[in-house]
Structure formats: structure tokens, C-alpha cells
């Protein structure tokens, strides 16, 4: 195989992506810990640190455009850069969801705990694992792992419905719970979105590895 210095540039790009992914994962982890531990400092930190993720998104997009313009990549090289260009967008949105969760946490801390959190931490754990697996699939170029991530999205959706219905019961029974219940419903919604972004990433990884898409086709799977 011939040495190409393009490969070094591609390697740097992948490292940048993984460092951004690490930040996004950490952000979600901290946001959930802040919520569960009722820790306003942690929630605040997530909000403040989001700008680092945003900056990296812009930097990586610029590198992708630069590489496409300069090297006219083909085949897998092209798919890699095009998918990284998309993945950074999902990671940036994951960071935003962590910020949203933290903002809800700060709201929730103004009042006593509505109910012990059971399904939300479960959802968070699932969404975080999906995110981690989608990025592991990227690193190991594992299309099957990527496909498996997509399948798990339904579990998170299901838990989200459950969270919504449980909290609806609280709200119909006692109007004083409405603010907190809505905050928690939103937290569920934000975590469900994290899982959606992980699914998008996994679909992109599948396309990167295989060159065929599995998007929008999983309904009958």
C-alpha cells in the first residue's frame, strides 16, 4: 500500500471527532448526574461547557470541507468525510440536549423532589450506551454494532412514553405538581432525542462502512 499523507490528515480528523464525541458523552453523563444528585453546580457546568462542543463542531466542519476541496476523496474516504460532517452535527445537538436537561434540573431544584426518579435514569443509561456504542462502531468500523444501536431506539421511545403517562397521572391528580411534572417530561423528551441522535450516528456509521443505507427502513425489522 502506498503511503498517503492524506491518511494522516484523515486520522487527525477522526481524532478530533472522537474528542468532540467524548465531550458530548461527558456532557450527557454530567447532566444526568446533576439531575439525580440535585447538584446545581454540575448542571451549571454542563451549560457553560457547551461552547467547547460548539466550537469543535465548527472546526471539524471546516476541516471536512477543506479535505473535500483539496483531496477530492473517493469511495470510503469520501463516505468517511461526508459522514463525519453529519455526525458532528448530531454530536452538537447531543450537547444541546445535555444543556436542556441541565436547565430543567435548575428549575426542578427550586422545589422539592416530585417523585423518586426511576425510568428517567434508565432512559439516560440506555441513551448513553447507544451513544457510546454508535461511536465504538465508528472506531471499530463495525456495521453490525451500528445496526444494533438503531434497534435499541424503540426501548428508549417506550420508556419515554411511560415517563409521560406516569407524570400525566400526577398532573391530573394534583395541579401543584404540574411545573415539576412538565420539567421531568421535558427531561424525558431530551433524553429520547439523545437516543435519536445516537441512532442517526449509527446509521451514518453503517453507511460509512457498508456504503448502503439502513435509514427509514427499520420499521419491519
Amino acid at each position: 500500500m502506498m503511503q498517503r499523507h492524506f491518511d494522516e490528515e484523515l486520522k487527525t480528523l477522526k481524532e478530533q471527532l472522537l474528542s468532540m464525541a467524548g465531550m458530548a458523552e461527558q456532557s450527557v453523563g454530567k447532566a444526568i448526574k446533576g439531575l439525580v444528585d440535585r447538584d446545581p453546580q454540575l448542571a451549571q457546568a454542563v451549560i457553560e461547557e457547551d461552547s467547547r462542543i460548539n466550537r469543535l463542531e465548527v472546526e471539524i466542519e471546516e476541516i471536512c470541507l477543506n479535505l473535500m476541496a483539496r483531496y477530492q476523496p473517493e469511495a470510503k474516504d469520501l463516505r468517511t468525510i461526508a459522514m463525519i460532517f453529519k455526525i458532528v452535527n448530531d454530536l452538537e445537538r447531543v450537547g444541546d440536549q445535555a444543556v436542556n436537561v441541565s436547565e430543567r434540573t435548575l428549575d426542578l431544584l427550586r422545589e422539592p423532589l416530585l417523585k423518586p426518579l426511576i425510568d428517567i435514569p434508565k432512559m439516560a443509561a440506555l441513551a448513553q450506551q447507544m451513544l457510546k456504542d454508535s461511536l465504538d462502531a465508528f472506531v471499530s468500523q463495525d456495521a453490525e454494532l451500528a445496526r444494533a444501536v438503531c434497534r435499541r431506539d424503540d426501548e428508549v421511545d417506550h420508556l419515554n412514553d411511560q415517563v409521560y403517562h406516569d407524570l400525566l397521572v400526577y398532573m391530573t391528580q394534583d395541579a401543584k405538581t404540574i411545573t415539576r411534572a412538565i420539567d421531568l417530561i421535558l427531561v424525558g423528551r431530551h433524553l429520547e432525542r439523545v437516543a435519536d441522535h445516537a441512532t442517526n450516528i449509527a446509521e451514518d456509521v453503517y453507511y460509512l462502512v457498508k456504503g448502503t443505507t439502513i435509514k427509514h427502513r427499520l420499521a419491519g425489522d
Binding site: 503511503q3 499523507h5 476541496a69 483539496r70
Partner: protein, 250 residues
């Protein structure tokens, strides 16, 4: 080694092919000069080591500063300039009657090097720098012309490097080569710039995009735009550059 031009113009008879170009070539970087056929890019690069004046009726005005000295000032020896600023041409042109070894050693011998050990080590170093050593070390005494086109071009690069120039000018170095040989030369440019400043003329703008750090766009003898290659190819400042690199003309 720093190289810069100041109001550099070049003529063929009454026809001015290069018009008042002022440019500072960044050190230890690869600079590509692009532009449509007839834009003056080859003429420009040939002015940088006083090769333009060898053509009858050709003349140059303006200055070319090599490390603070104008190479056109009186008393400068063009042969010495060309030794300090090596050049590789469009078509591989190894000396036809010479072996691989003798081709690389030719410049050194002209400069009076006779010691066999010195020649051996300079030939090996030149061939290694040109990423050709491993392919030819067993056939150093075969004719240079027995090599493939891509190898011959790297042999010419080795020949240029053997005399230890400070800069390397390449005038369409890949236009006679196939894509694999081209890729090898482009890789070589990437490695060479660690030791040399490289100026590359190419009509292949993808090559400029891939192989250079800085790009200058010439049109009708004028330097329209000069800047970082990444910038030129993603967001050029001049609409004429944009039109050229997107294939709307040229």
C-alpha cells in the same frame, strides 16, 4: 531559504507574459502556481532561477530576492543561481547516455566532486530524498532511460537534489505521468518541503489542491490571488479565481 519577487515582469519579444508580480514564497512550504494555459505560470517560475533569459528575445524586469539578494543584479552568475534553485521539468529528461548513478552524480561532477565515496553518498542521499533508492539500488549502473516514466521523473528530482539546492522549482512535474506515478511525486513534494521550499507550476488544479500549502492564481500574466491553499479552494476572494477553480473557464 527565502524567495520573493518584486514587480517582476517577463517578455518574449514585445509580448509581456508576466506582469508585475510581487509575491513572497513561504519557506519550507509547497507553493503552487495555477492558471489556464498561456497565463504565464511557466514563464514566471522560469524567472525564479534565471531560466527565462536563455530563450532568444526573452527579457525580465523587476527583482527576485533570494535571501535578500536580487538574483538579477549585476555580477550574479546565473549558473550558480540555478545550482541554488533546482528545477524539474514537465517531461522526465534523464541524460540519455548515462546510467542511473551517473545521472545523479552529473551535477556534482560538474562542480568538481571527484572523490568516489563522496559521490556514492551524495547519489544515495539524492535517490533516497527522491524516494527512488529502494527501487533502483540494484540497478544503479543501468541506463537512466531504462526506468519507468515515473521513476525517470524521480531520477531527475534526485539529480536536482544531489547538488544540494536551497529551493526546488517544479514545472508541471507530473503532466507526463500516470496517476500512480503522479501520486508518488505528490507524496514526495509533501516530504521534500521539510528540507526545501518547493514551487510547483501545474495546470492540474486538483494537484495544486492536494500537494501545496499555498496557491497563487495567475491570469493573463497577472497574479490574481495568492493565499493558503485551503482558503483558495474553499473560499477564494476573487471571482475570477472562483470561476477558474470551479471549471467555469480556463
Amino acid at each position: 531559504m527565502s524567495l520573493a519577487t518584486e514587480c517582476l515582469s517577463a517578455w518574449f519579444g514585445s509580448n509581456r507574459a508576466v506582469k508585475e508580480i510581487t509575491i513572497a514564497i513561504p519557506k519550507h512550504q509547497a507553493t503552487a502556481i495555477i492558471g489556464p494555459s498561456g497565463c504565464g505560470k511557466s514563464t514566471f517560475i522560469r524567472c525564479l532561477n534565471r531560466m527565462h533569459e536563455v530563450i532568444p528575445e526573452a527579457r525580465v524586469e523587476g527583482k527576485v530576492w533570494l535571501e535578500g539578494t536580487d538574483i538579477y543584479q549585476e555580477g550574479m552568475d546565473p549558473v550558480q543561481i540555478r545550482r541554488r534553485i533546482g528545477m524539474v521539468f514537465q517531461k522526465p529528461n534523464p541524460f540519455p547516455t548515462m546510467t542511473v548513478y551517473d545521472n545523479v552524480a552529473a551535477g556534482l561532477r560538474l562542480n568538481g566532486v571527484r572523490n568516489r565515496a563522496d559521490l556514492d553518498s551524495a547519489v544515495e542521499e539524492g535517490l533516497r530524498l527522491a524516494a527512488l533508492w529502494d527501487e533502483v539500488k540494484e540497478k544503479l549502473h543501468s541506463p537512466g532511460t531504462s526506468l519507468s516514466g515515473g521513476q525517470q521523473q524521480r531520477l531527475c528530482i534526485a539529480r536536482a537534489l544531489a547538488v544540494k539546492p536551497e529551493l526546488l522549482l517544479m514545472d508541471e512535474p507530473c503532466s507526463a505521468l500516470d496517476p500512480i506515478a503522479t501520486a508518488k511525486i505528490e507524496e514526495l513534494i509533501y516530504h521534500l518541503k521539510q528540507k526545501y521550499t518547493v514551487v510547483l507550476v501545474t495546470h492540474n488544479m486538483q494537484q495544486a489542491a492536494r500537494a501545496s500549502d499555498f496557491t497563487g492564481f495567475l491570469l493573463m500574466g497577472e497574479l490574481v490571488e495568492f493565499g493558503l491553499t485551503g482558503k483558495i479552494f474553499t473560499n477564494p476572494s476573487d471571482s475570477r479565481t472562483e470561476a477558474y477553480i470551479t471549471g467555469r473557464f480556463g
